[in-house]
């Protein structure tokens, strides 16, 4: 059971985890990304490339499925305007054993950061700024290359 959703709406992590638990494995790992309200941030605006996003994220999910013995993968990535404290992204993996679930979960979020066509714009009270890609994130994504 691998499923990708690119959506504006919020999601329910508990329901997503329950679905992964029902895959029959011995372990479920997950990551939920949340908008940080640092530096007076009012909102984060996520833009994406609708014609490409779902297919590209599905390719990333397929890469994880090829590399680890997983029973289920769930990826949800939101777009649009999000306020501090709101959920942005969910990655969940189910496997028979913990190592595959944990490693695949880390791989998926690292690759989503550097390989999925999303762009974040920060809105402050008096200005806006596009978030710059971080070399550290690229390095983490690169470390999974083989």
């Amino acid at each position: 059971m691998n499923r990708v959703s690119i959506q504006a709406a919020d999601f329910d992590p508990a329901a997503e985890l329950a679905a992964l638990e029902a895959c029959g494995g011995g372990g479920v790992a997950s990551f939920t990304g949340i908008v940080r309200g640092e530096g007076g941030l009012v909102a984060l605006e996520l833009e994406h490339y609708p014609a490409m996003t779902t297919a590209q994220v599905e390719r990333i999910v397929q890469e994880a499925a090829d590399r680890w013995p997983l029973l289920g993968i769930r990826v949800i990535h939101r777009f649009g305007r999000l306020e501090p404290g709101e959920r942005i992204v969910f990655v969940g993996t189910a496997s028979r054993h913990r190592t595959a679930a944990l490693e695949a979960c880390a791989f998926l979020i690292d690759w989503l950061k550097s390989q999925a066509p999303f762009w974040k714009k920060e809105h402050f009270a008096d200005r806006t700024a596009w978030v710059e890609a971080r070399a550290e994130d690229d390095a983490r994504a690169e470390s999974w290359k083989r």
Binding site: E47, Y49, M52, Q56, H77, P117, F118, W119, V131, E132
Partner: protein
């Protein structure tokens, strides 16, 4: 003549002032880098958006490719800054 759909995202879109346009597709061996240098000659927002090609990334027909890739027979070229999702 075959057409090429150009799509722009993030600050590239904002600098150019539009998210999409159709242009005549260049010869297949023209690289993305050479093509955006031509677009930059139109001045204004194009010049601003494409001033530093090394800050740009591209996709041909919804697949990430290096800027030195030839455009070939692609139908869509997307130009954008490095992605910042997740």
């Amino acid at each position: 003549m075959p057409q090429l759909n150009l799509v722009y995202f993030a600050w590239v879109r904002e600098a150019i002032g539009r998210d999409e346009e159709r242009v005549e597709r260049p010869a297949p061996d023209v690289t993305i880098r050479a093509f955006i240098a031509r677009l930059a000659e139109q001045g204004g927002g194009y010049c601003q958006a494409f001033a530093e090609p090394d800050r740009l990334r591209a996709a041909l027909d919804q697949r990430f490719v290096p800027l030195d890739s030839p455009i070939g027979e692609a139908r869509e070229l997307a130009i954008f800054p490095p992605v910042t999702g997740g």
